[in-house]
C-alpha cells in the first residue's frame, strides 16, 4: 500500500461503520418490539436524543455553548401544532419538515448574535432568546393558546397510511425513523471536510482562520443546521403527544439538555443518544424511589460524573462489552470513546 492510499484509508477511519454502532441501532430497534407497553417513555427518549444530538452538533463539534436551545424546540413544536390544528398541512412528515425549517430560519437569524463573543456571552444570548420567545408565546395567546397551550390537535395518518395509535406504537417507529435518518445526515456532515473544519475552529479559531477557513460562515451554517434538528425534535414532540404548551420553551428543557450531554459526552454523536437513555432512566428510577427528591439524586450523579471523569466511567461501563467484542471481532469496541470534554 503506498502512502497516498494509506492516508486515504486512515482519513476514512472514523467515518467507517463499526460493529458497535450497528449493534447499537439494532438494540434500539429491538427495544421497539421487546417493550410494547413502554412506547411512550421510549418515544420520549428518542425525542430527547434527537434534541441532544442537535446540541452536540454545535457544542461537541463547533464549541458553541447554549442555554437556550429550547427556543428552536419550541418553535418547531408550535409550528407543527399550528399546522395540524388549522389543517394547513395535514400530512405529518411534510409538516415535520416545514416545522424544522421554521426553526431553521430562527436559527439562521439569531446565529449572527450567537457567534460573536465568548462562551459567557453566548450562554446569555441564547438564554435570552429562549426567554424572549417564551414571553412572546405567552403574550400572543390568541395564536399559541397561552398557558393552556394548543389544544385539540388531531394528527392525520403518516403518508395518509399509518395512523397514530393510542399505544404510541406508530409514534415510536415514526420517531425512530426520523432520528435515524437525521443521524445518518449528521454522521455524514461531521465526517466531511466541513465537519472537520468545525472541530478545527473549536480547537483553535485563530489557526483555523490562518489556514483559510471562513470561521464565522461555518459557525452560522452549523448553528442553522442544529436549529433545524432541534425544530424537528420539537415538532415530533407535538405530533406524538398532540399537545404544545409554553413549557416547550422552558429553561429547564435547555438545561436538561446540557445534563444529557454531560452524561453521554460530546463530539461523537452517540453522546446525546446514550445520554438521553441514561438521563431518562435515572429520572424514572429516582422518581420511583423518592418522588419528591429525585432531582437531588440526579444532581449527585452529575457531580460524580464530573469528578470521576467521563472517560474513566466509560471505560468501566464498557469494560465487559469491550471484552466480548474483542473476543468476537478481534478489535477494540467502538461503543463510546469520547475524545473531548463537554
Amino acid at each position: 500500500m503506498n502512502a497516498s492510499s494509506d492516508v486515504g484509508y486512515h482519513a476514512q477511519r472514523q467515518s467507517r461503520w463499526h460493529y458497535g454502532e450497528v449493534a447499537f441501532w439494532l438494540i434500539v430497534l429491538a427495544c421497539g418490539f421487546a417493550f410494547p407497553t413502554r412506547y411512550l417513555i421510549m418515544t420520549d427518549i428518542l425525542r430527547l436524543a434527537l434534541f441532544a444530538m442537535s446540541l452536540d452538533l454545535i457544542l461537541g463539534y463547533a464549541g458553541i455553548v447554549s442555554l437556550g436551545h429550547a427556543a428552536f424546540f419550541g418553535v418547531g413544536a408550535y409550528a407543527a401544532g399550528l399546522l395540524a390544528l388549522h389543517g394547513i398541512i395535514n400530512e405529518p412528515v411534510l409538516a415535520l419538515v416545514v416545522a424544522g425549517l421554521a426553526a431553521m430560519v430562527l436559527g439562521f437569524a439569531t446565529s449572527f448574535l450567537v457567534i460573536r463573543g465568548v462562551d459567557l456571552t453566548r450562554l446569555m444570548v441564547t438564554l435570552g432568546i429562549a426567554l424572549l420567545l417564551e414571553a412572546l408565546a405567552e403574550r400572543f395567546s390568541n395564536i399559541t393558546g397561552g398557558t393552556d397551550g394548543l389544544q385539540g390537535i388531531e394528527m392525520q395518518p403518516i403518508f395518509g397510511q399509518i395512523p397514530f395509535d393510542m399505544f404510541g406504537k406508530a409514534g415510536f417507529f415514526y420517531s425512530l425513523a426520523v432520528l435515524f435518518l437525521l443521524f445518518l445526515l449528521a454522521r455524514r456532515v461531521v465526517h466531511s471536510p466541513f465537519g472537520l473544519s468545525l472541530r478545527a475552529i473549536k480547537n483553535n479559531p485563530l489557526r483555523a482562520a490562518a489556514i483559510g477557513i471562513p470561521v464565522n460562515r461555518r459557525l452560522i451554517a452549523i448553528y442553522t443546521l442544529a436549529a433545524f434538528y432541534a425544530g424537528i425534535a420539537g415538532a415530533l414532540f407535538t405530533q406524538t403527544t398532540a399537545i404544545a404548551s409554553l413549557d416547550v420553551f422552558a429553561f429547564e428543557r435547555s438545561a436538561d439538555l446540557m445534563l444529557v450531554l454531560v452524561i453521554g459526552g460530546t463530539g461523537y454523536l452517540y453522546g446525546g443518544l446514550i445520554g438521553a437513555v441514561i438521563f431518562r432512566m435515572l429520572q424514572e428510577l429516582f422518581s420511583t424511589i423518592t418522588p419528591q427528591y429525585w432531582q437531588f439524586w440526579i444532581g449527585l450523579v452529575l457531580v460524580v460524573i464530573v469528578l470521576v471523569g467521563r472517560q474513566r466511567l466509560h471505560r468501566w461501563v464498557l469494560y465487559v462489552p469491550n471484552l466480548v467484542i474483542k473476543q468476537v471481532a478481534g478489535r477494540r469496541a467502538i461503543v463510546a470513546v469520547p475524545e473531548s470534554d463537554a
Binding site: 483553535n204 477557513i213 471562513p214
Partner: protein
C-alpha cells in the same frame, strides 16, 4: 524585479504606545528576507498586521501589488499569504493527518463540502501523503497532536502553512523552543522550501538568520533602522550598537 509583499507607511498604536512607526518594507519575489530586532521591537505586531489579525491605524499593505489592508485573515490566506506562529497554534485534538488534510481541503476549495467524506478525494490524499512524508510526520499521522513531541509539533506547524501552497510565507521564529537534537530537521525543512516561495523570516537565532537570509531588515522600537544584505547589516555600527552590541557576529 517584482515585489511580493510591501508595506507603505504602516502605523500601529496600542493606546499611547507606537509599536509600528512609519514602516515601509519591500520584499522581493523569491527573497529570503529576515526581519530582526531586539525583544519588544514590534516584529510580531508587524506579522499580525500583515496577516490581518491586527488592523493598522494607517498605511497600506500590498500583496503582489494588490491592496489587502482591509481583507480578513482567511481571504489573505486564499490569496497566497501564509504564516507560522511563534508559539504553536495547532489543533490539540486533531491528528497531523486531519490537520494537514483540512488545510489542503480548504486550499482546493473543498472545505465547505459537507457531504463527501474526508479521505475520498485522491488529489487531496496525494498531497497529504507528500506533506507528511516531507515533514517526517508519516509515522505519527494518527496520533493526537497534543501527544506529539515538541519538535514534531513544530514541523507540523510549518507543514500546515506550506499546505496552503503560499506564494509568500511568514515564518515567525520557526526554531523557537526546539531542542538541539531536533533543530536539524526544522532547519533542513526551512532550507528546502521551493525557491518560488517568498519567505519573510522573523528570528532571534543569528546563526539561522545569517545562514538563511539574503536580505535583512532591522526593526528597533517599531521603526526600520536599516536594511541590506547580511554582510552590510552585520558591519553596520548602528546595528551593532542597538542590537548586536554585546555579541560579535561573524559572517
Amino acid at each position: 524585479m517584482t515585489i511580493a509583499l510591501e508595506t507603505q507607511n504602516l502605523e500601529k498604536t496600542f493606546g499611547g504606545l507606537r509599536v509600528t512607526r512609519d514602516l515601509s518594507l519591500k520584499i522581493e519575489q523569491g527573497a529570503r528576507h529576515a526581519l530582526i530586532g531586539p525583544n519588544g521591537a514590534g516584529k510580531t505586531t508587524v506579522i499580525n498586521q500583515l496577516t490581518g489579525v491586527l488592523k493598522p491605524n494607517s498605511g497600506r499593505i500590498l500583496l503582489e501589488g494588490q491592496d489587502i489592508t482591509d481583507l480578513p485573515v482567511h481571504k489573505r490566506v486564499l490569496r497566497g499569504l501564509s504564516r507560522t506562529f511563534q508559539i504553536n497554534q495547532l489543533y490539540p485534538d486533531l491528528t497531523p493527518l486531519e490537520t494537514i488534510g483540512l488545510a489542503v481541503s480548504e486550499r482546493l476549495g473543498h472545505g465547505g463540502d459537507w457531504w463527501r467524506r474526508m479521505g475520498t478525494r485522491n488529489d487531496v490524499n496525494d498531497e497529504i501523503a507528500d506533506l507528511l512524508n516531507r515533514f517526517h510526520l508519516l509515522d505519527v499521522m494518527n496520533e493526537q497532536t497534543v501527544t506529539l513531541p515538541y519538535g514534531k509539533q513544530r514541523l507540523l506547524e510549518i507543514a500546515v502553512a506550506i499546505a496552503g501552497k503560499p506564494r509568500v510565507l511568514l515564518l515567525d521564529e520557526p526554531a523557537a523552543g526546539v531542542p538541539e537534537s531536533e533543530r536539524h530537521d526544522i532547519l533542513a525543512v526551512v532550507g528546502a522550501l521551493p525557491r518560488e516561495v517568498t519567505v519573510l523570516l522573523i528570528e532571534h537565532d543569528m546563526d539561522l538568520v545569517f545562514s538563511f537570509a539574503d536580505r535583512i531588515s532591522v526593526l528597533v522600537s517599531g521603526a526600520l533602522l536599516t536594511e541590506g544584505p547580511p554582510g552590510q547589516v552585520a558591519r553596520d555600527p548602528q546595528v551593532k550598537a542597538v542590537y548586536l552590541g554585546e555579541e560579535a557576529v561573524n559572517v
